[in-house]
Symmetry: C2
Subunit: 361 residues, 2 copies
């Protein structure tokens, strides 16, 4: 399976292709055609670098691109401004000019930090994403959100910055822990819930094959997920409205991650529990019925994902953590809720008492 | 003199107006109409805040905008990532949401740091520039360059980020030290040299009145300078080509600033000496004649600006400092040189021996 799918994200002069397939990392030409200068910096982490860095280095060497490497510690707790600075320090020490390309090889954290560094180094250098986890292939691949966390909130520092291309190699799932594959499926299931009832049905049908690592199914799931996200982002690149629906379950989920400590709950796990909370609140408003709760819960459970928040978290902890979400305006907590399967909305017009009931449930 | 001039910088959806006149700071409506949320953060410095902060606070209070203040240390040495972080920390602690507006009240450093913070806080919040120095009114007002210095190079970290509006109050020059007014005139003279022979002639005619603080003349000089910069930036917002001509004298100038220690030579002073070096090198290539050197030197001297680099700087120091300029690509130092009065080009096709002669001269 060489390039299986190519999806073009249409954002005017910032448009770019996503390549999806197996063993794309070894295809020198694929990466070469998107490097415009003569040098590159590969940013990876301590988990991914031993597995895949050599292939990228080989590709770069074979087309005579001068390249350096920076290996970050693995984990959400290293998604910091300090990590961004370490990238910029290296770029300057090694005299990378503004035609240099930063290549992010790893999961969402590597992509977010390296992409943010690319956006601010010399006011912006080229950036290529090589996401190696399911989560990062279906999430960070599309939309250009880059950034780092602040002690007072997740993703509070960052930029919208589009890559030159995304190389999504399904083969990198071979080395992905089962728990991380499942966490990625939480985001895949999200796309069905918010945008595409048929895709949700397809996932119900194929969840076992996906969990078993079937490449064809995984490539298909990555493609559809990226297509849905692209369709949303193309309509609202800078999240002034519609784009926020991609955050189904995320306001609750971010609160779980923040209170439990980043990294203890995987992002996808927190989102899974958060989606069930959003579904609960949507049901309390009479917008969707119990059947959708049952189907969603069953699907998430088959993927071994949590369907409820940690029992020890109090409503007060939720409210405090949710109060500093970026979506909030004028002090009201905005939430993404479901209108029906395949249709979501962002709103602050929900019943606050019902929110308290959901948090207490 | 209320609003004397309004200039619209045409950058598509990122277009914005520049207001030029006396006593604009007290005009509540001017600032009010460009604030879209209900809160603002005014960033200023220890020199400017005692003079003008109260007026802005009064304006914000009178239209019921919740506002906080952050006062940075004054000086180029505080144009750092740490200063940017201090702004972001305050925004988070005071719970500013992404509809908040950052208002930069001060010179270029305040504008660059606050603008950069605005560009990365929650991936971008609104930004209003209130430049209080001549240099910042004619330079940072147009073009959206924001950023901070790195120990290894000036402006190495930053973003292109356009403000909602610029309020250029000529009245703030009343409290501007004569040396800083002169340093600002170096950039004004630059616009004549690179783009507008007539404006250069007008400056020769009116330099004494400008130095004496004539408001009508200063407003006119700010307007023409911003118009020229706008015309250049509108053609090349992200500096892929033409825009680089705005850097006449800056590659040499940045080297002077870096070697002498930021803040010892004012930016405009270093640029003045740098422009004379660029003129020297242009003459050595036979592109312009000695007469332009004489006119430029005379004009800069009337403004009490330096016309040569510090005697203690060696060619080697220049070459090393110039080697990490952002304009460089593939190891070649790019320079802005003059083809004739009112016309500049960016090139690496100059004679390296002649560059050494200029550096040694």
């Amino acid at each position: 399976m060489p390039i299986k799918h190519q999806l073009d994200v249409a954002l005017g002069e910032r448009s770019y292709p996503i390549y999806i397939g197996r063993d794309l990392l070894g295809q020198t030409q694929l990466i070469r055609q998107h490097i415009h200068g003569s040098s590159a910096l590969v940013v990876s982490n301590t988990t991914v670098a031993p597995l895949y860095l050599a292939r990228i280095q080989q590709s770069l060497a074979s087309c005579e691109i001068r390249h350096d490497e920076l290996i970050l510690e693995d984990g959400e707790q290293y998604k910091t401004l300090a990590a961004t600075e370490s990238i910029i320090d290296l770029l300057l020490r090694k005299r990378h000019d503004r035609r240099s390309t930063i290549i992010a090889l790893g999961g969402g954290v590597v992509g977010d930090v390296a992409g943010f560094a690319a956006s601010i180094y010399q006011r912006g250098v080229n950036f290529i994403q090589v996401p190696t986890t399911l989560l990062s292939q279906v999430d960070s691949s599309v939309g250009g959100k880059t950034g780092v966390n602040h002690p007072l909130g997740k993703n509070m520092i960052g930029a919208f910055y589009q890559p030159q291309c995304v190389i999504a190699d399904i083969g990198s799932f071979d080395t992905l822990p089962a728990r991380e594959l499942a966490a990625g499926l939480a985001e895949v299931i999200k796309y069905g819930l918010i945008y595409d009832a048929d895709f949700f049905g397809w996932l119900e049908q194929h969840i076992d094959g996906l969990l078993a690592g079937d490449s064809e199914l995984l490539a298909q799931a990555v493609l559809i997920s990226c297509q849905i996200k692209a369709r949303v982002v193309e309509q609202d690149e800078r999240e002034s409205g519609l784009r926020a629906i991609l955050n189904l379950g995320h306001t609750f989920g971010h609160a779980i991650e923040a209170v439990m400590g980043y990294g203890n709950w995987l992002h996808g796990e927190a989102v899974a529990a958060g989606m069930m909370m959003a579904i609960d609140l949507s049901i309390r408003h009479g917008w969707i019925d119990e059947q959708l709760r049952a189907r969603s819960s069953a699907l998430l459970q088959r993927a071994a994902l949590p369907t409820a928040p940690p029992v020890e978290m109090t409503p007060q902890q939720f409210l405090e953590a949710m109060a500093i979400d970026k979506k909030n305006v004028g002090g009201r907590i905005k939430l993404v809720l479901l209108r029906e399967l395949g249709s979501a909305c962002i709103t602050d017009e929900y019943d606050h008492d019902k929110l308290l009931q959901t948090l207490a449930a």
